[in-house]
Amino acid sequence: MAKTKQYCVAENWGKGFINHDESFRITFRGLPGNVWQIPANNKAGNLWISKVAGAVKTKDEAQTIVTAEVTKAQNAWDADNVDDESSAEKIERLGSKPADITLEE
């Protein structure tokens, strides 16, 4: 199957990291661990990776980074308990437990 997504690691420095024109041209998905998913074979996307000095990752490399961050967040959620709190009350207090994220090829 043809690759439809590509991945890089880049730290969001704030204003100008993604500008309106890039946002209009590119479908971004920001993921834990400063991983960014953008369309593959996309000139605007490639130019953006270059602009932000993104470290290109394979899907598997990106998945490893994302999974490590999600696991850390899940463990923190599991460890954050209040005496006599029901599961519903915990969700009301903390929100749902962070879900696993599976990256696309």
Partner: protein, 328 residues
């Protein structure tokens, strides 16, 4: 082969510099840069990154506009009293809330805001604080202490607080006149973590958590006319922990949230009758705050898989810009 004049009825004009006030759809040739350009206008808008806040957190509140905003409270964890002010470029820490709390409501401007309700460590609170541009002062409490309620209002003298949770989901709606809270017409369906926008006489309440045990998100939207709530067109995607740019009941923008399984990047625009999907956030998040208007909004902080993100995004609609025809 048809040429441009044959299709559009006019030739492409040459300019030495780009025209100062092009109209959407206008095409021209720039003799200096040797480029063919056009002026684009998209009603869908787009989100661009803004500068990060100083202290990452979620379930905070926000007020103001894209060039003069305020965020306050939230949890880092634990519950926070921190307030930060935005000048359109950077965030600066300013005077803390008197009561640290998360799941609170906030309305107003960067110089006249109200922070009310919420969850302080161990207790839901009725605390109400007024911001004068410099500091927070405690003013008259709500009648009902609660957390994760929704809000509408324009300043520290005009606000609504509706729904939220005590031991149970609440239908209660209270109106603030600058001096005291008065109970007014109840909602039809109690929800927590929904998004509110508008004024004390015309507001919308969209989404929310209707059964924390499941958890079950809601797409419900209700409209307030100053007297009573009426069900109106639902969100396209049910969600809770979402937020709204809340300056008007006829032109709101709802973004982010959680559907019970995943965090969301989805953004929906309220046109007075129904919600329409527009451009997504670049980062999924819930428990975020926001500020601004439908045309010029901000999404601030909130949780992704990693709690308490610092990131901000700025929405602009319609998105108008000069584009160069790419010949590669």
């Amino acid at each position: 082969m048809a040429d441009y004049k044959g299709i559009k009825g006019g030739k492409v004009q040459n300019f030495s510099t780009n025209p100062p006030a092009p109209i959407p759809g206008q095409v021209w040739y720039n003799e200096t840069t040797f480029s063919l350009n056009y002026f684009s206008s998209s009603p869908l808008g787009s989100w661009a990154t803004g500068n990060n806040i100083n202290t990452g957190r979620d379930t905070l509140a926000g007020s103001g506009i894209q060039t003069a905003a305020l965020i306050f409270g939230g949890t880092t964890p634990p519950a926070s009293a921190l307030t930060e002010s935005y000048d359109g470029t950077s965030w600066t820490e300013v005077g803390d809330l008197n009561t640290a709390r998360n799941g609170l409501c906030g309305v107003g401007t960067s110089t006249s805001s109200l922070a009310y309700s919420g969850e302080a460590p161990g207790a839901q609170v009725a605390v109400n604080e007024s911001w004068n541009g410099t500091s927070w002062t405690e003013v008259a409490d709500l009648n009902l202490a609660r957390a994760n309620a929704a809000e509408a209002g324009v300043s520290n003298t005009s606000a609504l607080c509706f729904s939220g949770i005590t031991d149970t989901l609440q239908l209660v709606n209270e109106s603030w006149n600058g001096t005291s809270w008065t109970e007014v017409g109840d909602l039809n369906t109690g929800r927590s973590y929904g998004a509110g926008f508008g004024t004390v006489t015309a507001a919308i309440f969209a989404g929310g958590l209707i059964s924390p045990a499941t958890p079950s998100n809601s797409a419900l939207a209700e409209s307030w006319n100053g007297t009573a709530w009426t069900e109106v067109g639902d969100l396209n995607t049910g969600r809770y922990h979402n937020y709204a740019a809340k300056q008007s009941a006829t032109a709101g923008l709802v973004f982010g949230g959680h559907n019970g399984t995943d965090s969301l990047a989805l953004t929906e625009q309220w046109n007075g009758t129904s919600f329409v999907e527009v451009a997504d956030l670049s980062q999924v998040r819930y428990g975020l705050a926001g500020a601004g208007t439908q045309a010029s909004a901000m999404a601030v902080a909130g949780s992704r898989a990693v709690p308490a993100a610092k990131a901000t995004e700025e929405y602009t609609s319609p998105l108008e810009s000069t584009k160069t025809v790419d010949t590669d």
